[in-house]
């Protein structure tokens, strides 16, 4: 048995292991991996996601068990210090010695820290590992405790620097990106696209300082600012250095491997270093005199090294590595491929720029107009995948090459034709090396029909995820060739999307489900279309769930939340969480009378569980008598507007958050929508109401309110993004009115605002244009529709208890007064709970 030692357990080191153990021949090898970080390999590319969930596990590439299950010995928190290549051993920091037959160096890189005076000061960080992030977070918390408007600078306006900018913004600090070059992302963008990017970022609250050379870091002990020379300074409380990377090549020097002049261990196209038994892969490897700071080439190097060690010697690295890249940076699409920019003697450019929308597209074409050489896209990179493939496969350009970026003027939009025109060998997912043929085969031959199934089978889209749109297209097109339709439709009974149904109901003035089904659908409906259409009726006519009760989900039908034993819970509205002692006592009395389990909800109100069907009208009669109204906790509608106590009591408050929250909750109560939606109002940036975790949120700042939209908790937590800054209350309300109405009209069934916003072409910038600048000319319509909903609110429980026919529905048996004997409770901490399921 031979031994392979892998030094480095980053993304590329892990990928080597994964690819190696997948091979049958790997059984004849022992694999030992050394990582100097305390944890197993994680997804560094999506490091900034750590801010959203603080969950290191979610970033893990594989759990610890995976290593042992695959016979890999993983040694963490141990760095390798020396290689003795003559006796083929290594020693570690704790002076243990290991011998090898093959050694794979995947030590990666370290952030480059420029030698600036004062760089050692407290509050200066690099951005590379989870530990770095945790240290930054702790420091940011410290700053926020002593001053409300803390600022952080990021040194370096490259990809990683901008990510770091987003990260410090999420920490609640004001971000300032400082770049030495005159433009952002100097490697990927030309000057004009960098300008467009800068405008977009600034509109989000990220400050950009280009052409600034930092001379000195100011401060006595801890950082207080940056000095750019000539009396030009920037006051900051924290600095994150993101000025590029340097390969971690120290080990190469310990055994005299051939090194590059500016670092990196030289490798050949087999990934061998100057010692044939030592391989180097990833960001430590210098291939073609280049260090490749992207994950895809690193993975490809891992693949080559695996094959070489297993004696499949014909698998070698391509002579030219594609550095094309597409990513979502702070919600903005950015992509560049091939040669992004160049002097005119090398080719000609076609450029489309629209600063009002934050869009820039450039393609570079050969002088004869036949070949695509490369390009840049900012703000809209939807066509990246196909352009990238045209470039990679030397596909001929259409006669009017400009249509590639500005769209065809003829019918049917795209100038590309279809993703299906690509050759089968075209690499669609470069992280996992999946070709177009691989994706289509997975659909046509193996019968996978969803992106999830194809991803499971081929691993396509599981790396950076940039190829998702193209893989999606390929799946759709492949299904079409099988005669399967993939039109977006809500179910088999309606050949329409929810948005289309919304328009039909509204324009044709359809009044009930049966008419809609007869005139625009087929069959008799189902549990998917019925509640979806019910929500559409509710949004258009503001009718309560009582009128067409049998098309409602059970919660809406009975105006209560069904719980796991078939009993219901009752939640009266407690707007903004403000409740009088008298109301509290009334609620307590009623809950006690009906023996209900009570609990405070996450939305600052009180939930009463364990009501039997027939008890619901009785309970509500008493609640309404006490002045309560329904809380719609059962509906796909506004739940609560959570608030902090605000300036009425709080010594930090900037404005009256409770009063505002009460007003908004009463404004939007009862409005049905594609999914539930929640709001929050915080009286200052300490954000005690967690308004940014809501579908819409307001935060009081000096001089007005900041308006955020598109956040949620739940399975995929998401922070809301800034829609408008420092606006007065009236404007804040108008924008959110329009946002909610626009969402209600265009979202898919059961799609919350966060995924809706993510899918919305043009994202937050587009939304801002619609609701603030009225770019679609629909603002007046949205305003009127919202006002109509607000004006026609009524409490559906009041309607229910006052109408005998509705009240009659609340009975377990229609032929007996008895109640359900199947329901059993057991005791729990002086209250009750449903008996466990059998």
């Amino acid at each position: 048995m031979q031994t392979i030692l892998v030094v480095g357990n980053g993304m590329v080191g892990y990928k080597f292991c994964e690819k190696f153990v997948a091979r049958a021949e790997s059984r004849n090898f022992k694999l030992v991996v050394f990582g100097e970080e305390p944890r197993a390999a994680y997804d560094r590319v999506h490091l900034s996601a750590y801010f959203e969930n603080r969950d290191a596990k979610a970033l893990e590439l594989a759990p610890l068990d995976w290593y042992s299950e695959n016979g890999i010995e993983l040694v963490v928190s141990e760095s390798v210090t020396d290689i003795h290549h003559t006796k083929k051993t290594i020693t570690t920091a704790s002076e243990k010695e290991f011998s090898y037959d093959y050694l794979v160096l995947a030590t990666g890189s370290a952030p480059f820290v420029p030698p600036i005076q004062g760089i050692e000061k407290e509050g200066v960080f690099v951005y590379r590992t989870i530990e770095d992030l945790e240290n930054m977070l702790a420091y940011a918390e410290k700053i926020k405790k002593i001053k409300p408007n803390g600022r952080a600078a990021i040194l370096g306006g490259g990809l990683l620097g901008l990510e770091a900018g987003k990260a410090v913004m999420d920490m609640g600090l004001e971000p300032h990106v400082v770049e030495f070059a005159p433009k952002l992302m100097p490697r990927q963008l030309d000057a004009r696209s960098s300008n467009v990017m800068q405008l977009t970022l600034e509109s989000m609250g990220i400050h950009i300082h280009a052409s600034k050379a930092t001379n000195k870091i100011l401060g006595n002990g801890a950082i207080t600012g940056l000095d750019f020379g000539e009396d030009d300074t920037l006051v900051v409380d924290m600095l994150v250095i993101s000025a590029g990377i340097r390969p971690r090549d120290e080990l190469g020097k310990t055994c005299n491997l051939e090194m590059g002049v500016r670092g990196g261990i030289v490798v050949n196209d087999k990934m061998q270093t100057s010692d044939p038994d030592i391989y180097a892969i990833g960001e430590v490897a210098l291939y073609n005199q280049m260090i490749y700071g992207l994950v895809a080439p690193g993975y490809e190097m891992a693949e080559v090294a695996v094959n070489q060690i297993l004696k499949k010697e014909d698998v070698i690295m391509r002579p030219e590595i594609d550095m094309s890249t597409k990513l979502k940076l702070i919600g903005v699409d950015v992509a560049s491929f091939g040669i992004p920019y160049m002097p005119a003697d090398k080719g000609l450019s076609i450029i489309y720029e629209n600063k009002t929308k934050g869009i820039y597209k450039r393609i570079n074409v050969s002088h004869d107009g036949k070949t695509l050489l490369g390009g840049i896209m900012v703000g809209d990179a939807e066509d990246y995948s196909i352009l990238h493939q045209m470039y990679l496969n030397d596909m001929p350009l259409p006669d009017n090459a400009e249509e590639l970026i500005v769209g065809s003027r003829g019918e049917g939009g795209s100038a590309f034709g279809s993703a299906m025109d690509l050759p089968d060998t075209a690499m669609v997912c470069s992280c996992e090396a999946v070709t177009k043929g691989g994706v289509c085969g997975s659909v046509l031959v193996d019968g996978n029909e969803t992106i999830k199934a194809v991803a499971m089978a081929t691993k396509a889209t599981t790396g950076c995820g940039g190829c998702k749109p193209m893989v999606n297209d390929l799946i759709k097109e492949s299904l079409k060739t099988l005669g399967k339709t993939v039109k977006e439709r809500i179910c088999e009974h309606f050949d329409f999307s929810r948005q289309e149904l919304f328009d039909i109901v509204k324009l044709k003035d359809v009044q009930n489900f049966d008419d809609l089904l007869d005139d625009f659908g087929t069959g008799h409906g189902c549990e998917v279309c019925k509640p979806a259409v019910a929500a559409v009726f509710a949004s258009i006519y503001n009718e309560t769930a009582n009128r067409q009760d049998t098309i409602q989900d059970t919660n809406d039908r009975y105006l209560a939340n069904i719980q796991r034993n078939g009993t219901y819970s009752v939640v009266p509205r407690v707007a903004a969480g403000e409740i009088t002692p008298k109301q509290l006592m009334a609620m307590g009395r009623i809950a006690q009378k009906y023996d209900l389990y009570t609990k405070i909800t996450g939305g600052q109100r009180i939930d009463m569980f364990g009501a039997k069907l027939h008890e619901l009208p009785l309970i509500w009669e008493e609640l309404i008598k006490e002045g309560f109204e329904t809380g719609q906790a059962y509906g796909k509608s506004l739940r609560t507007v959570k608030s902090c106590v605000g300036s009425t009591w709080c010594r930090y408050g900037m404005d009256e958050s409770v009063s505002f929250a009460v007003e908004i909750e009463h404004r939007y109560k009862g409005i049905r929508s594609p999914h539930k939606f929640k709001g929050g109002v915080s009286g200052c940036i300490r954000e005690c109401a967690e308004a940014r975790g809501k579908d819409f949120g307001f935060i009081a700042v000096e001089g007005g309110w900041n308006v955020y939209v598109g956040g949620n908790g739940g399975a995929n937590p998401k922070h809301a993004v800034l829609l408008a800054e420092k606006v007065d209350k009236a404007a804040a309300l108008t924008y959110v009115d329009r946002f909610i109405m626009f969402y209600i009209k265009t979202a898919q069934p059961l799609q919350r605002t966060a995924p809706w916003l993510e899918k919305l072409e043009g994202g937050i910038t587009y939304l801002q244009n619609v609701v603030i600048n009225d770019s679609l000319g629909i603002a007046a319509e949205l305003d009127a529709e919202m006002q109509a909903l607000v004006d026609s609110y009524k409490c559906e429980w009041q309607e229910a208890i006052e109408t005998p026919e509705i009240r009659e529905r609340y009975t377990h048996f229609v032929n007996s007064e008895e109640t359900d004997s199947n329901i059993e409770f057991v005791e729990l901490r002086a209250q009750k709970m449903p008996k466990e399921w059998a």
Binding site: D514, H524, G525, C526, E527, I562, H812, V814, N822, A838
Partner: protein, 125 residues
């Protein structure tokens, strides 16, 4: 609970011994259901008005053993009438009782007839 589940067995129209007069047709919402009690059994009865057909099945969902099916939405999949459990939206054929979206145990179904303004459900006991 399993014992409860086992008390429900599909009754074919030709085997009916007792036609139980359950309730007036007006007690059952159009295109929806309500629950009736027969001896110790809970039976969900559906007025599938769009098909002009009535269906009956056990009220007990075999997934989590709760008496809730009568409160489920009804509909149709490939013209097979079905009910969706209100708890987790498991769907069952109202004709055969078969679980349509998974591999749960099926549900028992019962014949229904309308005479005058009354709903009758067929049993063998």
């Amino acid at each position: 609970m399993i014992a409860t589940l086992n008390t429900y067995e599909t009754v074919q129209p030709e085997n009916v011994k007792t036609w139980f007069k359950a309730a007036a047709t007006s007690k059952f919402p159009k295109n929806g259901g309500a629950c009736i009690k027969y001896k110790d059994k809970q039976i969900a009865v559906f007025n599938f008005a769009r098909e002009a057909t009535w269906y009956a099945c056990q009220n007990l969902c075999p997934h989590k053993m709760e008496m809730v099916l009568s409160r489920g939405m009804i509909g149709e999949e490939n013209m097979e009438a079905k009910v969706a459990c209100p708890l987790h939206k498991n769907t069952f054929s109202l004709k055969t009782g078969e679980n349509l979206n998974g591999s749960l145990e099926g549900i028992a179904t019962y014949p229904v007839k309308i005479e005058g303004d009354f709903v009758y459900v067929g049993f063998v006991d």
